[in-house]
């Protein structure tokens, strides 16, 4: 009974997000009630995670076929450790993000709030769907839906700039989606049941070397757009026109992480380490990722707009993950997955802080926020914690992940990439620490009195900043991230040996 219930749980979680979206529309005239509803649905969804988590840790098979589209073509949800990791991250950050966006939207007197909440919930649902997809076609479905649902968020302000950014966003993501569809269709027409499995299901001996190479580029192109690997990154800084909770969601949880997760799926679960080495594409990805890594952080240095700076930092950090996966070593993969989680929680904190500053002071540039640390002590403390984590200072979570990434580079014998990681880590410090310095120690005479933003804004950002520390100290609590990662890594490389 419980087991059967468990099988339907992934779909229940997605259903909850849809429910939340519909209720937001229905109760759009009663904003308070609507907000309570969406928060309580979020909490309920998080409770649903725990039984699934238990199941995964006990290596149960949780699978649910939604519908068969045609023979061998199923829309099928299943829970595997990797998907669980991503879904848990998305859902765990959904709660603070929802509370935060309630505070933010009220503080900013944004219009069209109901549409915002609906699209927000649906995006999370699509991200969870991406996480729980058990085969390529399901993955494509949710991936496309994710692009679609986040579009209203990007254009939320409805200014000309936002519309332009929205067009760019769509152009990039839809092109990526089409590449994915093409690759998927090709795989199906080869008669392969494209079910994700560690170690991959593409065998270049069977389908030919060039075909698998071509397939790889189609699929990788599709996922790397969302993961903002250069030169496909330029939609991301533009999408910064969106309200801050959206940027937080786009950058930390849903979209880019779905891209990074897609890279994981394509590299490890579609092709597998052996195949990638055979067709010799891993080095290309490594080079691309390290270029993005360094260039992203360099560009972040140059931007005065706080959100833009964070956006380039995101681009750089995503490539940490991509590079970690592409190194194809157990330690590097551990680091990459840890970084996926850690960067999510850290970056969301940073964006929350940027948004809090924006709500209170309407200032968005680094040069304008001198002395703000005295005015908004909680916000800036949280910012400091997150910045320390970003720079990879122990014992924060991103230290742990960078440690694993670095030792992964050593383990696979590619010392060069260790230096890339270290170099970029230094620059991360260089673009974040001046902000802290300016906020706390530079005095600005003509700075009016502000004070903290409302509790609904401050509480989530304190919460997530504590998480960066807590997950760094005990990565296993309360969601068992580290155990999940261990399982993923062991199954991914067991298949190889």
């Amino acid at each position: 009974m419980i087991d059967e219930l468990k099988n339907t749980m992934p779909i229940m979680i997605i259903g909850l997000t849809i429910l939340s979206a519909i209720l937001s529309q229905v109760f759009s005239n009663r904003p308070k009630f609507r907000d309570y509803l969406s928060v309580s649905i979020t909490i309920f969804a998080i409770f649903l995670v725990f039984p699934l988590l238990n199941g995964v840790l006990n290596k149960e098979v949780i699978e649910f076929t939604l519908i068969q589209i045609s023979p061998g073509l199923n829309i099928c949800l299943s829970v595997d450790p990797a998907g669980m990791l991503f879904a848990t991250l998305a859902l765990a950050l959904w709660l603070p993000a929802t509370i935060y966006s309630i505070g933010y939207m009220r503080g900013h007197h944004e219009s069209n709030q109901s549409r915002f909440y609906s699209a927000f919930a649906l995006s999370i649902g699509a991200a969870v769907g991406v996480a729980f997809s058990s085969n390529l076609i399901t993955f494509v479905l949710f991936y496309e839906l994710l692009s679609l649902f986040t579009y209203p968020l990007v254009i939320h302000r409805q200014t000309d700039e936002a519309i332009k950014a929205g067009r760019k966003y769509l152009a990039y993501t839809l092109t990526g989606g089409i590449a994915l569809v093409a690759g998927t269709a090709w795989i199906y027409s080869l008669g392969i049941e494209a079910k994700f499995e560690p170690g991959g299901f593409i065998n270049p001996d069977e389908i030919g070397h060039s075909t698998s190479l071509f397939l790889f580029f189609l699929l990788f192109f599709g996922v790397s757009i969302k993961a903002a690997v250069m030169p496909l990154h330029s939609w991301l800084p533009n999408a910064m026109v969106a309200p801050t909770p959206v940027s937080a969601l786009l950058h930390a949880v849903a979209v880019v992480k779905a891209g990074a997760f897609g890279v994981l799926r394509v590299l490890i679960f579609v092709f597998g380490a052996t195949t990638l080495t055979d067709i010799g594409v891993a080095p290309i990805i490594c080079v691309l990722a390290s270029i993005t890594l360094v260039a992203g952080s360099m560009l972040a240095l140059r931007h005065d707009n706080l959100k833009r700076r964070l956006a380039y930092s995101t681009i750089s950090h995503l490539s940490y993950i991509v590079l970690g996966i592409a190194l194809l070593g157990p330690l590097a993969l551990t680091g990459a997955l840890l970084h996926l989680v850690g960067h999510g929680v850290t970056k969301i904190t940073l964006f929350f802080c940027a948004g809090a500053i924006d709500v209170r002071t309407h200032k968005q540039n680094v040069s304008q926020i001198a002395g703000i640390g005295r005015q908004m002590p909680f916000t800036m403390t949280a910012f400091t914690l997150a910045a320390l984590s970003m720079a990879g200072i122990p014992p924060f979570i991103l230290f742990t992940s960078k440690w694993f990434l670095g030792s992964g580079a050593v383990q696979t014998g590619m010392y060069f990439y260790m230096f890339v990681y270290m170099f970029s880590g230094v620059i991360s410090a260089a673009y974040l620490f001046p902000i802290i310095y300016r906020a706390f120690w530079v005095k600005s005479p003509d700075f009016p009195k502000f004070g903290e933003a409302s509790a609904t804004i401050v509480a989530p950002l304190i919460f997530t900043s504590i998480l960066t520390l807590a997950w760094g100290l005990i990565p296993n609590s309360p969601f068992g991230f580290f155990s999940l990662i261990e399982i993923v890594v062991s199954i991914a490389f067991e298949a190889r040996l």
């Binding site: 589209i69 479905l141 679609l148 989606g177």
Partner: protein, 462 residues
């Protein structure tokens, strides 16, 4: 109304019967085929007839109040023409006789010309041109039938198939095939024979456009498919006459030309007319690839596109009846006024782009699979690229509907218009909105359950 409802019910019954008992053959007037005219209701024709009758039932129901506002003069004669059109279209679908098909084609076309002609000053010229070009199409088809008849001595489709299988290829049969496809291509709006289509759709009364646009060209496409399946022997139209290749290349051209021109339009209806040309291109590709999978894709797309276009054109006629404008600009801020309609519209628009899980994705999916099977890479690129081009114009519309905010002046203007056409608003809530919602739900439902349609209805027939 009642008559249409009856024919819809009959076609559903027919489909059900065919699925249970196999095909129905009915010899008209008691003359045994191949001498007499025969009607054949097999899986495919039953499927298409269900699509045609259901769509027209919904459209006729939805546009009742628009018709009475648009058409001056006798409504009864208008509905008489509509029924004539439907009679012709269903006749085309169920007939098993080449010459009879011509007759029904002309009946349907004559009704369509007249309906288009009703749209006022501009429509007169569009209707007249449609008549001239449409008659050329019909005549070319007849010429093709003449060639077939004099080389096989029969007009019954299955008989022609049997005899051609025995006879093998001959130049006159091939010439006949070329004329037949040229004629049908003209009726279908295949590039470069599409010139009548945008004008006819744009200038016709909006209620007529929403009736003709979804089904008229689809039925011509269906007859092409018939030619491939039940008239010419398998492989004849690929190996002996390069019609398959022609359809693929012209279809691809149509996909590109149609969507690129659609992008540059500012009139909503004209935009959809060009988008029809591009979607018909996809259907033509499906027919031209000539594998069972691609036929499934084409048939599925005939249905999907009929539903999507019916929805889109209904929305346009609703907008037209309330705001007296079809320009893209007039849509600004409309998402707030007509919420439900616009949600339905969005679903159809997304399906046009082909984003899962809507119906439009799956017909493109099967088409892409068929193209991959045949190693037709350029075609694959065009099929997938068309999604992007479609996305461009679709999101131009959606931006206007939802995102852009009207400046205060035009807002006031709109409000005054809104109050002026208050009754129209109520009527459209009663008439159009439910239909739009039905269509939108069916788009998603067909997307999710398309396998049932394929395995139960289409696959056994191919």
């Amino acid at each position: 109304m009642a008559a249409v409802f009856l024919s819809t019910a009959l076609s559903f019954l027919g489909l059900n019967h065919v699925l249970e008992n196999g095909e129905i053959r009915y010899a008209l007037g008691g003359w045994a085929p191949p001498l007499g005219i025969e009607y054949v209701l097999d899986n495919i024709s039953a499927f298409v007839s269900v699509v045609v009758t259901t769509i027209s039932l919904l459209v006729i129901y939805a546009t009742r109040h628009i018709v009475s506002a648009e058409i001056s003069g006798h409504l009864s004669s208008f509905y008489c023409l509509v029924l004539l059109l439907l009679a012709g279209l269903t006749g085309i679908v169920v007939t098993g006789d080449l010459f009879n098909l011509f007759v029904f084609l002309e009946i349907a076309s004559l009704a369509a010309y007249s309906l288009v002609f009703l749209g006022g000053r501009r429509a007169m010229l569009a209707g007249y041109r449609y008549l001239i070009l449409g008659s050329i199409g019909g005549s070319l088809y007849l010429l093709g039938v003449a060639f077939i008849y004099f080389s096989t001595g029969t007009l019954n489709m299955s008989d022609v198939l049997y005899i051609l299988n025995q006879q093998g290829a001959s130049s006159s049969v091939s010439a006949g095939a070329i004329f037949i496809f040229a004629g049908l291509g003209l009726k279908m709006g295949l590039v470069p024979l599409h010139f009548w289509l945008p004008n006819a759709y744009t200038e016709a009364p909006s209620s007529v456009a929403s009736l003709i646009a979804p089904i008229m060209t689809k039925v011509a496409a269906y007859s092409m498919l018939r030619m491939f399946i039940s008239v010419f022997p398998e492989g004849y139209l690929i190996n002996e006459v390069p019609i398959g290749l022609m359809l693929i290349s012209l279809g691809s051209l149509g996909v590109l030309v149609g969507s690129i021109i659609a992008i540059s339009q500012s009139n909503l209806r004209r935009m959809f007319a060009y988008s029809s040309i591009s979607q018909l291109g996809l259907i033509a590709i499906g027919i031209g690839l000539a594998t069972p999978l691609s036929f499934i894709a084409a048939l599925l797309h005939i249905m999907n596109h009929a539903i999507m276009k019916a929805l889109l054109f209904l929305v346009v006629s609703d907008i037209n009846s309330r705001f007296k404008s079809e320009e893209l600009k007039s849509l600004v801020g409309i998402g707030k006024v007509m919420k439900l309609n616009m949600i339905a519209f969005t679903i159809a628009a997304i399906s046009m782009i082909g984003i899962p899980p809507t119906a439009g994705f799956f017909s493109k999916w099967y088409l892409a699979l068929a193209a991959i099977d045949l190693n037709q890479w350029p075609v694959l690129i065009i099929i997938l690229g068309s999604s992007l081009l479609t996305a461009v114009y679709i999101f131009r519309i959606l931006e206007n509907v939802f995102v852009k905010t009207a400046d205060s002046e035009s807002k006031n203007n709109q409000q005054s218009i809104d109050s002026k056409f208050g009754d129209a608003h109520e009527l459209s809530l009663l008439n159009i909105t439910p239909v739009l919602l039905i269509l939108a739900i069916s788009i998603i439902a067909i997307g999710i359950f398309n396998m049932l349609i394929i395995t139960h209805i289409l696959e056994p027939a191919l």
